[in-house]
Structures are given as structure tokens and as C-alpha cells.
């Protein structure tokens, strides 16, 4: 029975043409001589199976990340449902320009990451290194803008645990003028900022880890470690980077845009 390769990713092939080789050469170091690609680990049948298995493993990790961030989004949802007015008022304190610019920076970094994966697939070492570097620069720019934003908030005592916790009085005055009612209970507003710093802080930590991973990729990529046959580290770091981008795609409207209308 002819089985389509893509459907039997993790099932050993029935007709294993390399079986004889493997019996003859137990030492993986001799496998080059027997026609195996040097990048092929000995426990995989072929490069395609190896690639599918690594992708699957990375996605399994990303599913745990979905649940990890999912818990934070759940916390946001519960607190917002119980404090709708305070959350919308607190959101107005954040500056849209920083959030929007950072969204654009992060999406651009996802494009450069995707381009890096493409150049590793076609084996262009120079452009691979260039686009990995560009992705690192954009990631660092994101963190820089975030740092400026955090420092503005700290300057106004807008951080959980501040004594006393406050927000920019211009925003409070504008809110009261526009809505014709007092600014909501400041402690409920503070709860928004507990969640804001928690979620953006953990997101930023993921960015830092991603930039470090890109640093290693750039180093090994420059030394020519990746080829059209073997580029899993670039592909998998790409998956991680895009995932972190997706988290921000949800954080931006939920944190910055809910109180504007």
C-alpha cells in the first residue's frame, strides 16, 4: 500500500531502504560514508521526517505557551468584566502612539524573521545573517520604546504599589470633562496596571529570550551552519518569534484601545 509521506510523519517507513546500512554501520559517524546527509540524526529515516518532527515538537511547546498567556488573558477578562469603567479609564492613560509604533515594529520584525527563514532555505548565508541582524535590531527597538513608555508611567507614579498610586492628571481632567462623571476608583485603576505590567513584562521577557536566541543563530549562521537541507534552528526560532508577535497583536487593542470611544 502506498502511504503518502506527509501522513506518516512519525511512523517508521515499512520499506526502509536504509535498513541494511544501519545494521552494517552502528556508529553514526560512519553514516556520511553510507550516503546519509551529515545533518540527519541517526534516529530519523530522512530529512523530511526530521523536519516534521522538530516542527511538531516546537508547536507542542508553543501550545504550552498559548495556555500560559491564555491564563493571563483570562485574568484580564475576569477583572475587566468586574471593573469595566475603571479598565476603560485606565486604558486612556496609556499613550496610543507608543503602542501603535511598537505594533508596527513587531510586525516588521516578523517580516524580517520570515525573510531570514527564506534565505536559510535557499542557502543565502549573507542575507540570512543580514535579516537575522535586522530582526534583532527591530526587537531591541521594541524593548527600547517599551522602556521609554514604562519610565513615563513611573514618573507619574503609575505602577502597582506606588505610594500613592496616581495617573497623569491631564488624563483625569480630560476624562471628567468629556464624560461628565468623576474618574473611577483609583484602586480599581491600579488593578488594570497590575495586569498591564504583568502581561507586557512577561511579553518583554519573551522578546529578550528571542533576541538572545537570534544572537546565537546569527553567530552560527555566519559560520555557515545552516543550509537548504538543514535550517531547523532558524525555522523554529522563527515560530517562537512569530508567536511572541501574536501575543502583542492581542495585547495592543486590549490594553491601549478599549477606552477611546
Amino acid at each position: 500500500m502506498a502511504t503518502r509521506v506527509e501522513d506518516s510523519t512519525l511512523i517508521p517507513a515499512v520499506h526502509d531502504t536504509h535498513a541494511n546500512h544501519r545494521v552494517a554501520h552502528h556508529d553514526p559517524h560512519t553514516e556520511d560514508a553510507s550516503g546519509h546527509h551529515p545533518a540527519l540524526q541517526h534516529h530519523f529515516d530522512n530529512l523530511e521526517q526530521q523536519r516534521d518532527a522538530t516542527t511538531l515538537g516546537m508547536w507542542t511547546f508553543l501550545v504550552t505557551e498559548i495556555m500560559f498567556f491564555g491564563g493571563l488573558f483570562m485574568a484580564y477578562t475576569v477583572y475587566r468584566v468586574f471593573n469595566p469603567e475603571a479598565f476603560e479609564a485606565a486604558s486612556r492613560v496609556l499613550e496610543i502612539k507608543y503602542g501603535a509604533i511598537n505594533t508596527a515594529v513587531l510586525i516588521a520584525s516578523s517580516l524580517t524573521m520570515a525573510m531570514a527563514v527564506y534565505f536559510s532555505q535557499i542557502g543565502n548565508r549573507k542575507l540570512l545573517v543580514a535579516f537575522l541582524g535586522l530582526t534583532m535590531i527591530l526587537g531591541t527597538a521594541f524593548l527600547g520604546i517599551k522602556a521609554i513608555e514604562y519610565s513615563h508611567k513611573f514618573a507619574h507614579n503609575t505602577y502597582p504599589g506606588a505610594v500613592p498610586f496616581e495617573v497623569d492628571h491631564h488624563v483625569v481632567e480630560e476624562y471628567e470633562r468629556e464624560k461628565g462623571r468623576p474618574f473611577p476608583d483609583i484602586n480599581r485603576v491600579q488593578m488594570f496596571y497590575v495586569i498591564y505590567y504583568g502581561m507586557t513584562g512577561i511579553h518583554a521577557l519573551h522578546m529578550v529570550i528571542g533576541i538572545i536566541a537570534l544572537g546565537f543563530l546569527t553567530f552560527y549562521g555566519y559560520r555557515g551552519a545552516y543550509s537548504p537541507e538543514y535550517n531547523s534552528p532558524v525555522e523554529l526560532t522563527g515560530l517562537y518569534w512569530h508567536f511572541v508577535d501574536i501575543v502583542w497583536i492581542f495585547l495592543f487593542p486590549l490594553l491601549y484601545l478599549i477606552g477611546r470611544h
Binding site: 509521506v5 511538531l56 495556555m67 487593542p253 477611546r260 470611544h261
Partner: protein
């Protein structure tokens, strides 16, 4: 080689779409649609995330096994939201009088 290589041209298109959707979500946030504001914002965010997952993350071209794992991940996320949400959001549905009555007996 069986690996599907996505061409830069499609990456540019996805990038353009993501940028347009980002601008759109900022603009619509300033209009008052009542409860629809959140639904519109989340629809745009889910569309953007889907584009990233399918094309930047190559899931569109991945094996059925990988697709299953991805869908399962979001399915379990939905289970968490439904179960925790149905607890918190339904508190107060039971009239106070009934709970008082149950506590007294």
C-alpha cells in the same frame, strides 16, 4: 526536496495586510459601537493572528499532524475561557433570596 518554500512576495503581502489591519483597529477604536467595539477589535486581532500562523509560521503548508496540534491548542484555550468564564460571569445569577434560604436550612 519536499519542503515548501514560501516566496518573499507572499510575505510582503501578509505584512501589508497586517499593517492595514493595525491601522484599522486603531481607527475603529475611536468610534462608539457600544458592546460591538470589543467584538470588532477581537475580530481584527484574530484575523491578524490567523494570517501570521498560516503564512509566517507556515502552518498552511504543514503536515496534518502539525495542523491538528495547533487547532487542539486553541481548542483547549477555548475550553479554559468557557469554563472559567461560566463560573465568574454567572455569579449573581442566583437571586440572593434563594442562597440565603439554602444557607438557613
Amino acid at each position: 526536496m519536499s519542503e515548501h518554500i514560501v516566496q518573499p512576495k507572499s510575505y510582503y503581502k501578509i505584512f501589508g495586510a497586517l499593517m492595514v489591519l493595525t491601522a484599522l483597529t486603531v481607527v475603529v477604536a475611536f468610534f462608539d459601537f457600544g458592546a460591538l467595539n470589543d467584538i470588532v477589535a477581537m475580530t481584527i486581532a484574530v484575523t491578524k493572528a490567523t494570517l501570521v500562523i498560516l503564512f509566517f509560521m507556515h502552518v498552511f503548508y504543514s503536515s496534518r499532524l502539525t495542523k491538528t496540534i495547533v487547532v487542539a491548542g486553541f481548542f483547549w484555550l477555548a475550553i479554559m475561557f468557557v469554563m472559567i468564564g461560566s463560573d465568574y460571569l454567572s455569579r449573581g445569577y442566583v437571586p440572593r433570596g434563594i442562597t440565603n434560604y439554602v444557607e438557613r436550612h
